[in-house]
Symmetry: C2
Subunit: 268 residues, 2 copies
DNA sequence: GTGATCGGTTCATTATTTGAACCGTTGGTT
DNA sequence: AACCAACGGTTCAAATAATGAACCGATCAC
């Protein structure tokens, strides 16, 4: 890990809860020296990635993020393209829908949509990085993404987030086989108590899984009726988004999704 | 300039015209060694700032930009807040309106709005970084921003972009005094032949100029009638945006804008 | 006062970046 | 088919830039 990575890692400290971070806080949170943090933040500030604000001279994200995002969307309109599909899906099914993509070694949430149907819905503001092993999105990407990714992720220690979180790598590998067989992933209370979610993989132009589309609902509402509606709508929407992104669903998964399961399991 | 700055500088190579850049192109454009570029791009890719795509393994901006932009807008809704004002202004005056902010030592365009009134309008897609000395936006920020910025900028060699571009630092300093006196900046064909623009400064919470709001029109249409309408509407809109951003117009400039010019010039 | 913490700076030590040369591939030209 | 140039990527000794303990002045709570 080089100096650049350390500097970029500082930006990961920001979240919706922590929009303003002081120098000493950065040093503590990143485990780096205060002087090192200061120099890096100065360089980040010179390029507009962060800016200092107020009397306390705290740092917050800078306007450069907006410029880069605008360029990214102009070149690859992922977020804008997916957003209407998320909204439609959330409204149709009456539950929270969210979309995440692989960013480095993490799964990061890119967009979400709520439904106004129920007073109690799953909020996604707090989630930023989704744990691979404890969310349906994570399992979907592990199951359909590069095997190397799954190997690396499952080699690391897995955090127990709730009493229901599965943390045994072998047990998770077994679940991934199920995910591969049925074409979507499921997670009940693995991330947060009482939250049940389903997720379908999304693919890029090289037919490689690059993210997931998921629906999260209170476990109490996730009965057989909703579950089967979610399953089919989620898969349809995932196909839509993949197409909008110029991606391709691998034939094997397309077959499963079209209800013609393969006679033999191709992926091991 | 440290390693981090060099790496971040690579991201500035991207533009709407150049969304895909190869390794060797990066090395040439940045003047750095190919190996150096490669290591930096690898680190940027690990954090999702760039991603490799296609058979040619070229690089493009990655999804991390979207995440950071979403966080930035959640914390400081600058772009979203300003956009409706830009649209209204463009429609009212029938010309292209754009907004730029200071990013490091450069003036970068953040947002723009077109009018559907005329077939011929000034397009802003190509502009990304605005030259300080050759645009009304640049002059406005130099005139009302920190003196240190103007000093540094005018100490560097100034490029001649058109036959009308003023490149003499002293002549520009004289123009800045005029800008300060009238409360807005003007530039005729300094940036592009036949484009006439007016700009008003925008201020942050510390009453420091942090950007500019500008209107650009074909010189042929910029007669006395339009010019006076632009002048008053631009100032009103600049005040609106400054307020939306939680900023404060310095009293001296507010007085000028309200038509009560100060008896003596305060800023030198 | 007093002590703790803040953002920021210094400078000898140290670890990292750097870049010329090199590799295997690809794609066009002779 | 042989050739060549340009591509993305890698290597390793030499050079340079990053590092961190100690320090500074300011601020704040007590």
């Amino acid at each position: 890990m080089g100096t650049v990575s350390k500097a970029l890692g500082l930006l990961d400290q920001f979240s919706r809860q922590r929009a303003l971070i002081g120098l000493s806080d950065f040093a503590r949170a990143s485990g780096m020296n205060k002087a090192t943090c200061h120099r890096m933040l100065t360089e980040l500030a010179a390029h507009g990635f962060v800016e200092q604000v107020g009397a306390a001279r705290e740092y917050r994200l800078g306007p450069q993020a907006l410029r880069l995002a605008a360029l990214r969307e102009a070149a690859v309109p992922m977020r804008e393209a997916a957003q209407p599909v998320l909204r439609a899906l959330a409204q149709e099914l009456g539950e929270t829908v969210h979309l995440s993509v692989i960013v480095g070694e993490n799964l990061k949430m890119l967009a979400y949509a709520y439904s106004a149907t129920h007073a109690m819905t799953v909020m996604m503001e707090d989630a930023d990085t989704l744990p691979w092993h404890a969310t349906s999105s994570g399992l979907a990407v592990l199951a359909f993404g590069p095997q190397a990714l799954a190997r690396r992720v499952l080699a690391q220690p897995l955090l127990r987030l709730t009493a229901q979180t599965e943390t045994d790598p072998d047990a998770i590998r077994a679940r991934l086989a199920v995910v591969q067989a049925q074409g979507f992933a499921e997670s009940a209370s693995g991330f947060e108590e009482g939250v049940h979610s389903l997720a379908a993989p999304l693919f890029d132009a090289g037919a490689t899984c690059c993210g997931a589309l998921a629906l999260a609902a209170p476990a109490a509402r996730m009965g057989p009726e909703l579950r089967s509606r979610v399953q089919s709508s989620l898969i349809t929407a995932a196909q839509q988004i993949t197409t909008l992104w110029g991606g391709q669903v691998p034939p094997a998964i397309a077959d499963i999704w079209q209800g013609t399961p393969l006679p033999t399991q191709e992926r091991a």
